[in-house]
């Protein structure tokens, strides 16, 4: 029954992707397609005084220029613009009014017969502003923040436990440090794009780059006041998103608005520069204060954070809670404050909050280990917690200890000389660092439809998306095993708002949720087949209970006696049906008694040229405990991708804002650095066994996020070990080693 689950399986959509057969949102063509280009604001705050589109309109091939003054009607209440993952506040409304909230905000949309004409005409639109004073520097707003009430909302800081102040005062060894992570931006390969096909009956087929087609569909219907049956949103392939596609982005509104205005099909593809207002990892100033007994017992954690949000929404993701979760510690206190800046609202970005917060915690733990004269891995083992102390409950499974053990063994950690600057290779100082990682193992309500046909083919459909992580493949693996079919006999349909219900694909929750949905729905198919099989004359399964049969190689077989079996084709033919279809909604009935998390131990080796400060990350080992691994091949790719992103976070990524102009200045992938091949050397991924009997029927957790968590800290700690220099603000560029 499990031929595919747990087996390294190549992507079922791999061929379509490498041959170009897989189409992305900006690649759909239709007769009469109009092309749109966005004009964006050059100021960060103020009002539009005047828009002169005459020059643009005079260009041959320009159809129209939409602005807040002449656009079709849009909803006027915030609720319409709120989506499934929106933070508290008043969501941004593109082309809604004359107010400028951030530099790069769309202020006009040029529509033309050709994309080149649209883009040229967009450069001719003149916009005059009444400018107001703006602020885009988190450091300048540090004292003008507002605090989130502990325990007040699920994304706010947790309530404190114990007595932090006395514990800090009494601590035998204390480490307090401030850590900074700058604003970082998503740079998915696929640009944000929408193609709206205007059908003859006025219905809209919207191809959008998104992580949630149904979220976008509902949003569009509310914002543009359209009946739900008029709009279908599709996103069969997504070229990377990792959080930037959770919320409906402005291009889908503008493209749809334009299609309604023109009553024709419209495509809008954003430029790389324009994508830099679609959300970002919020900059984070953190102060971590740790107190311990000299033997290495962690007594107290105080974690304070200031993060960036926009003027109109309060984006935050329980940033500080990870500190009190990861280690055994009787006293913990959290503070989280938001700084409002004249920027667009931040968004989720791979392991939102954990990537940044665990970076600070794990650097602080490394510094505490130095203060305690303890091996940093030993300190973590001493502080290991079998309970989620934030909610005071055990884990359904947690095998972080094996991550430490297997990772350390593979890395050769026991050969580490604890003294900084003690290990070298010629002109290079060698540093070894470690860090822990943690993420949630969430599950969400989801619906799956399976249609099994008499020829032994199954079609599985669900409105989830595959953002490149391998969702198509793991869905095919699970259904093939559940229905006893070869992988080639399975078709997966996703990324279509008309398919059975799915939430946005994010938070690492889809693999577990959709797999569980498939198991449940396949079970219903099997039961129906058994019911039909029992109706056959002299049925060998006449006495079999539903739990006593399995689908194997196209036959329904008794699990007690393999000789008692009927081919499914014969069963269906006898009953006069050519297909069996079932659709089931599933939800994880969480009684709250157990915490569900994934964990990792990251080990990094860096080599730093002593004279020049050039840093090379020569080795990373990530040992991951994430339940049962559905597909070791795609899972490994996920973790490798997370490690690469972590290398970027540690050494390269930083959004540069000119605070005078309130404008992002490195909004392109030449100047916004992410790791290139030369920056990525040996990465080893270890999946430790972590059976979990209660989390779901297959024991699956997700692992989209866990790969990045802890990586930046492990590298920063390795750099300290190599050089003796502790750099507490990311990215660690070579000049910071000499400050």
């Amino acid at each position: 029954m499990t031929n595919y689950i747990g087996t390294a399986t190549s992507r079922v959509d791999g061929r379509a992707k490498v041959t170009g057969a897989a189409k992305y949102a900006g690649e759909y063509n239709t007769a009469g397609l109009a092309h749109a280009s966005v004009v964006t604001s050059t100021i960060a705050k103020g009002r539009i005084a005047r828009i002169d589109a005459n020059a643009a309109l005079s260009i041959a091939g320009v159809i129209d220029v939409l602005t807040h003054q002449n656009r079709p009607r849009m909803a006027s209440v915030d609720d319409a613009y709120t989506d499934d993952t929106a933070p508290e506040g008043s969501p941004f409304r593109p082309l809604y009014d004359d107010r400028i909230r951030f530099s790069g905000q769309p202020v006009a949309l040029v529509l033309a017969e050709e994309p080149e004409v649209a883009r040229f005409a967009a450069s001719l639109v003149r916009v005059e502003y009444d400018e107001e004073a703006h602020v885009t520097d988190i450091h300048r707003q540090r004292d003008a923040t507002f605090a989130l009430e502990p325990g007040a909302d699920p994304f706010g800081p947790p309530k404190p436990r114990g007595a932090t102040e006395p514990a800090l005062a009494a601590a035998e060894v204390r480490h307090r440090g401030e850590y900074f992570v700058p604003i970082e931006h998503h740079n998915p390969m696929e640009p944000y794009a929408t193609t709206v096909i205007f059908e003859h009956d006025g219905k809209l087929n919207v191809y959008d780059k998104t992580q949630g087609v149904q979220n976008v569909q509902r949003y569009l219907c509310r914002v543009l006041e359209m009946a739900p049956d008029k709009v279908r949103v599709m996103s069969p392939f997504v070229g990377g998103a990792f959080g930037s596609g959770l919320r409906p982005q402005y291009q889908v509104v503008l493209a749809t608005l334009a299609a309604l205005a023109l009553k024709r099909s419209v495509r809008l593809v954003l430029t790389r520069q324009q994508m830099y207002v679609l959300g970002y990892r919020p900059a984070m100033i953190q102060e971590v204060d740790l107190g311990a007994k000299s033997g290495g017992i962690l007594d107290v954690i105080a974690h304070e954070a200031v993060t960036v949000t926009s003027q109109y929404e309060d984006f935050h993701r329980q940033e500080t809670a990870w500190s009190g979760l990861l280690y055994d510690c009787a006293n913990a206190k959290y503070r989280h404050k938001l700084a409002r800046l004249d920027l667009s609202t931040p968004c989720d970005m791979r392991a939102p909050s954990a990537a940044t917060a665990v970076y600070a915690l794990e650097c602080a733990m490394d510094e505490l280990a130095v203060a305690l004269k303890l091996d940093p891995l030993d300190l973590r083992l001493k502080c290991h917690s079998d309970r989620d102390q934030n909610a005071d409950r055990p884990y359904s499974s947690k095998n972080l200890r094996d991550c430490y053990r297997q990772g350390a063994q593979s890395f050769g950690w026991d050969k580490r000389n604890p003294e900084p600057r003690s290990m070298r290779d010629g002109a290079e100082l060698i540093g070894w660092g470690t860090a822990s990682g943690v993420w949630e193992a969430l599950q969400v309500p989801i619906a799956v439809r399976i249609v099994l046909t008499a020829n032994g083919h199954a079609e599985v459909s669900c409105a989830t998306s595959d953002i490149g992580t391998g969702t198509y493949t793991i869905m095919a693996q699970v259904v093939a095993d559940m229905l006893g079919l070869p992988l080639d006999n399975v078709t997966i349909k996703l990324g279509d708002s008309t398919l059975p219900q799915s939430p946005v694909e994010g938070g690492s929750w889809i693999a577990a949720s959709v797999s569980n949905g498939i198991v449940t729905t396949a079970d219903a198919i099997r039961r129906e087949l058994l019911r039909l099989a029992k109706q056959m004359p002299n049925s060998p399964l006449a006495d079999a209970a539903p739990t006593e049969v399995a689908l194997v190689d196209g036959r329904l077989v008794s699990v007690r006696d393999a000789s008692r079996a009927v081919p499914l084709a014969e069963t269906m033919r006898h009953s006069g049906v050519d297909r069996i279809g079932e659709e089931k909604s599933t939800n994880f009935e969480d009684d709250g008694s157990h915490a569900h998390n994934t964990h990792s131990a990251v080990f990094a080796e860096v080599k730093v040229d002593e004279q020049l400060g050039v840093i090379r990350v020569t080795r990373v080992i990530s040992a991951v405990a994430a339940g049962r691994i559905l597909n070791p091949k795609t899972a490994r790719s996920q973790i490798i991708g997370g490690v690469v992103w972590g290398i970027g976070m540690a050494l390269h990524e930083e959004t540069l804002i000119d605070h005078k102009f309130g404008r992002i200045m490195n909004a392109n992938i030449a100047e916004y650095h992410v790791p290139v091949n030369a920056d990525v050397r040996n990465i080893e991924v270890i999946f430790v066994d972590e059976p979990d009997a209660t989390i779901n029927q297959l024991g699956i957790k997700g692992l989209g996020e866990i790969g990045i968590v802890g990586v930046a800290a492990a590298i920063a700690n390795a750099i300290y070990h190599a050089t003796g220099k502790r750099v507490r603000d990311l990215p660690i560029s070579l000049d910071k080693l000499w400050r």
Binding site: T42, S103, E116, R119, F120, S123, T271, G426, A427, E428, K607, D609, Q611, L612, G613, V614, R616, L651, H652, L656, D658, K660, F661, R663, M665, N666, A670, E671, H673, P675, V676, N677, A678, D679, S733, L734, D735, W738
Partner: protein, 338 residues
């Protein structure tokens, strides 16, 4: 990007005629920089004159034993040309330190000289920039200037020239051959690029109606003791924070002749005759290297974010000279610094 006319030049004279007739026209060869600038509306040429088919693609030995490199030789071809690899390995190394394989395949030799700065403000038409819009002001002086110049800056501009290849060409005492309406002329490489002074809109001393036809290398290639050392924010595909082309001629342990050029620090590849003179006749070692670095960086001036470059350049000069003296040039594929 604006609409433009597209024409082809039939020969060099035709190219010169066409550009002289239309001051807002631009030559296009590989287009690796010009197309980007057009997309950003930094360049809005009325006409692109395609010179990519002109017969300027050969690498030939000169009568005196040097090399004459056609302006349209792709960067990749030049880096891997057997005569370049053998006699001018510092040039090959510098080329391979720049851009990516795809860009090097497209980019031409002449175009490499004429690439524009990567200053953020130059690229963003929403901000003032004296180089792009003379008289509008320099946003970098009080803005984001971590990548900017520390030598030869002016009140008007602190941009750097981004090329790696040009740093090696400057060190090698190359000559730029240009054609124009008048007689063809030759420009010493170190005179080809300008300092910004009060006219940063002019990157070079090439006249608007002139075209680069060839680069000539003198016979001496310093193939035994050289290096090209590039320090950047990631290990490949990034512009230099600081780069050093260093070449030595040694006799025993004594420096007979020396060439030293810096990239990433000025509006042009930076050479300093005093520093080179200070190396001549000295034992190849820390004392002489340090003196040369001091002389080279004595007038360096940092801004809010780039003052570290002064120290970095000093360290890089010391290391590069050590690499050159030891005959262990920096590999551009193995990223460990030698």
């Amino acid at each position: 990007m604006n609409p433009f006319h597209y024409t082809r030049a039939s020969d060099v004279a035709d190219a010169v005629r066409q550009i002289a007739a239309d001051p807002s026209a631009r030559f296009i060869a590989g287009g690796t920089n010009l197309i980007d600038l057009m997309k950003e509306d930094v360049e809005r040429p009325s006409r692109l004159i395609d010179i990519s088919r002109l017969p300027l693609k050969s690498v030939e030995e000169t009568a005196v034993g040097g090399l004459r490199i056609g302006a349209l030789v792709p960067n990749s071809d030049l880096a891997y040309h057997p005569l370049v690899a053998e006699r001018y390995p510092m040039l090959a190394s510098a080329i391979l330190a720049g851009a990516s394989a795809q860009l090097r395949n497209m980019a031409s030799t002449g175009g490499n000289l004429l690439q524009r700065t990567r200053c953020y403000y130059f690229y963003d038409v929403a901000t003032p920039c004296n180089k792009r819009a003379p008289g509008s002001g320099c946003s970098a002086i009080d803005g984001l200037n971590r990548m900017h110049a520390i030598l030869g800056t002016s009140e008007a501009c602190i941009a750097t020239h981004p090329s790696d290849m040009c740093v090696a060409l400057a060190a090698l005492d190359a000559t730029v051959h240009v054609a124009g309406p008048a007689a063809a002329r030759a420009i010493a490489f170190t005179d080809f690029h300008r300092l910004p002074e009060d006219a940063p809109q002019r990157d070079t001393n090439l006249q608007p109606d002139e075209i680069v036809t060839a680069i000539e290398l003198p016979p001496r290639g310093f193939a035994a003791n050289y290096t090209y050392l590039k320090i950047r924010d990631r290990l490949s595909y990034a512009f230099a924070l600081v780069s050093v082309a260093a070449a030595l001629e040694l006799e025993g342990g004594t420096i007979k002749d020396a060439r030293l050029a810096l990239g990433g620090v000025a509006h042009k590849p930076w050479r300093d005759p005093m520093a080179e003179a200070a190396l001549r006749g000295q034992p190849a070692g820390e004392v002489a290297f340090s003196r040369a670095a001091d002389l080279m960086l004595g007038d360096a001036k940092g801004f809010a974010h780039n003052a570290f470059k002064i120290d970095l350049a000093r360290r890089a000069v010391l290391r590069a000279l050590a690499q050159a003296a030891a005959g262990t040039p920096q590999s551009q594929s193995d990223k460990q610094i030698r």
